[in-house]
């Protein structure tokens, strides 16, 4: 008897190989070197890995243009336009957050490259989620991402907050993973496979007489995902963890986890369970409305900027789910555009928060931001742009992002939901604008100047500039999101 090994299309899994490979190289270098490695080594390795991923993505995009989308490794991994764009966004998030972390590690006088090893490993998990075509592979990607993040949240051992937040994240994250994988087990029982392609084929060709197990599985899967993207009512961990985690890690979480989880969520729910839309739409409807309104209204009463941004990201998750609710190719493109433009903006916002927070990540009260733009027009101006982009102001990327998911929902017949989402956006704009106005208010109690190191300054500048440039010049990113179609998604 011979063992049949599945064929491997190495180009498809090269981004994961690069990030994991870079993590292993750094791990060996750290183990073999005499002293502690300088943080610069880690930053350089992460930057090269990200750039290598961009180059690979370019070749992948051409491969898809020539040969079409494909699956490899016995249908476990898929290479399609959607996965390439999601991978690039994840690598961009890795690069930007590594630059922010570079300055943060210097300020907190931490040597060593462990931080970078963990972010590289976690990033590969997010990439696996974006490319997975099998529920078990999604689960593995989710866990590689989450386990790396549990450690990263606890990274600052000098703060009691940090370890506490990690423990909360770990217990609730483990709970969510168990719910997710139980959902996967039930779907396996109902359809006979964990491969998304087979599930989709089975559901397209069979009429289930009793589909209780399938529905239970679908519900549990969505609950598991909702925990990970922090959608209301499964968001309670997020303010604590955002506050307790080191600020660069918070930025990384807000961006990379959302991209990875939404990529997998869209692939599972909109693409392979698209035939069950009548079942999952009401669930997503409730998640959208609750996330948008609870996120926006609870953010209004926050006194800590990291908690405020946590609720802001809950609110944003609601809008991203709106694109999923429509379930059409347009909705998927809208959500992809949303996470694509949200990533640099949110990491740059947390870069400002990391700088203003000062030594030990202590100064996160809103008072610290009073008059920031008067003292430092450039830093305050950049933060203004970043906040306006998140609120969805015209001439920023946030505007078209919100427009595209709302338009997709209207297209799919969800006018009431679209109206609710617009009302929610107006409530959310209120707390963003309140923070912006306080940036320009005078009467700061103890004005301190915030030092802006080069790496963080670059990230903040990049975030603000892309928010404006691609907010005015919409077509390149929008058409990219539109062409990055999911494999097997039926075009309406």
């Amino acid at each position: 008897m011979t063992l049949q090994l599945p064929s491997v299309h190495y180009l498809a899994i090269l981004p994961e190989l690069i990030t994991i490979g870079a993590a292993v190289v750094l791990l060996f270098a750290a183990a073999l070197s005499r002293g502690r490695l300088d943080r610069m080594v880690g930053t350089v390795v992460v930057a090269s890995a990200s750039v290598a991923t961009f180059v690979v993505a370019f070749f992948q995009w051409h491969d898809i243009a020539q040969h079409g989308a494909s699956t490899t490794l016995a249908n476990a991994v898929v290479l399609d336009g959607f996965s390439v764009v999601a991978t690039v966004v994840i690598a961009l998030g890795l690069l930007l957050s590594a630059l922010v972390a570079h300055d943060w590690l210097g300020r907190e006088s931490m040597t060593g490259v462990e931080y970078h090893i963990l972010t590289l490993a976690a990033t590969s998990g997010a990439m696996i989620m974006a490319q997975a075509n099998d529920l078990i592979i999604i689960f593995l990607g989710l866990e590689i991402l989450s386990i790396g993040l549990y450690v990263l949240v606890a990274f600052n051992r000098r703060r009691a907050n940090s370890a506490e937040a990690a423990l909360k994240y770990l217990l609730l994250g483990g709970f969510a993973s168990a719910i997710f994988v139980y959902g996967a087990a039930l779907i396996y029982g109902a359809t006979g496979s964990t491969t998304l392609t087979s599930i989709s084929y089975f559901l397209g060709t069979h009429v289930l007489t009793s589909n209780g197990i399938l529905l239970a599985g679908l519900g549990l899967l969505i609950v598991g995902f909702a925990f990970k993207v922090a959608a209301v009512p499964f968001h309670l961990w997020s303010p604590d963890v955002y506050e307790g985690a080191p600020t660069p890690v918070t930025g990384f979480m807000a961006a990379v986890v959302k991209v990875g989880a939404f990529a997998a969520l869209l692939r599972v729910v909109a693409s392979s369970l698209g035939t069950q839309a009548a079942t999952w739409r009401p669930i997503i409807w409730v998640l959208v409305v609750l996330s948008i309104f609870v996120g926006a209204s609870v953010a209004l009463v926050q006194r800590n900027v990291k908690r405020l941004l946590a609720y802001s990201s809950v609110n944003q998750a609601g809008f991203m789910l709106l694109g999923l609710w429509s379930g059409t190719a347009r909705g998927v493109a809208g959500t992809l555009y949303y996470v694509m433009t949200y990533t640099p903006v949110v990491i740059a916002t947390f870069a400002v928060v990391a700088l203003v927070g000062g030594l030990g990540d202590e100064g996160h009260s809103l008072e610290k931001y009073r008059g920031l733009a008067r003292r430092q027009p450039w830093l305050g101006g950049a933060l203004t742009v970043l906040l306006l982009a998140q609120s969805g102001a015209p001439f920023t990327t946030g505007f078209f992002a919100k427009y595209s998911v709302i338009a997709a929902a209207v297209d799919a017949g969800g006018v009431p939901l679209a109206v609710l989402a617009m009302a929610g956006a107006a409530v959310a704009a209120f707390f963003y604008l309140r923070l912006v106005l306080s940036l320009y208010a005078d009467g700061a109690e103890e004005p301190t100047l915030t030092q802006v190191p080069v790496a963080s300054g670059t990230v903040i500048g990049f975030g603000a500039v892309t928010a404006i440039v691609f907010g005015i010049w919409v077509s390149p990113l929008a058409s990219l999101a539109h062409h990055a179609s999911l494999l097997f998604l039926q075009k309406p």
Binding site: I136, E143, L186
Partner: protein
């Protein structure tokens, strides 16, 4: 005499429910970990049952992945519990009140 597959599924669902209930009600971090493990093992039982009744090896293979993930999660988790314990000499999560949920 063979036991029908649905019995195994019901046992698994009960185990999962007990794990979830314990996680939400108990306040000791170590017990909460055990509850997560119980939930994952309930999933394993579900996978094996379905794999047996579907005559498909894929579900049994999934169990190995879940076992490995559970082990990795516990390794990291106990590390974090030790880090918290060093500061507070207690593993009761109610005493972790620096962050208010």
């Amino acid at each position: 005499m063979t036991i029908p597959a649905s019995w195994y599924l019901i046992v698994a669902a009960m185990l999962f429910g007990i794990g979830a209930f314990g996680l939400l009600t108990r306040r000791n971090a170590l017990i909460m970990f055990m509850c997560v493990e119980l939930m994952l093992n309930a999933v394993n039982l579900t996978f094996v049952t379905f794999a047996h009744s579907l005559k498909d090896i894929g579900g049994q293979a999934a169990v190995f992945f879940i076992l490995v993930v559970a082990a990795a999660e516990v390794t990291v988790g106990l590390g974090i519990v030790v880090a918290v314990f060093r500061r507070r000499s207690s593993t009761t999560v109610d005493e972790l009140s620096e962050l208010k949920g």
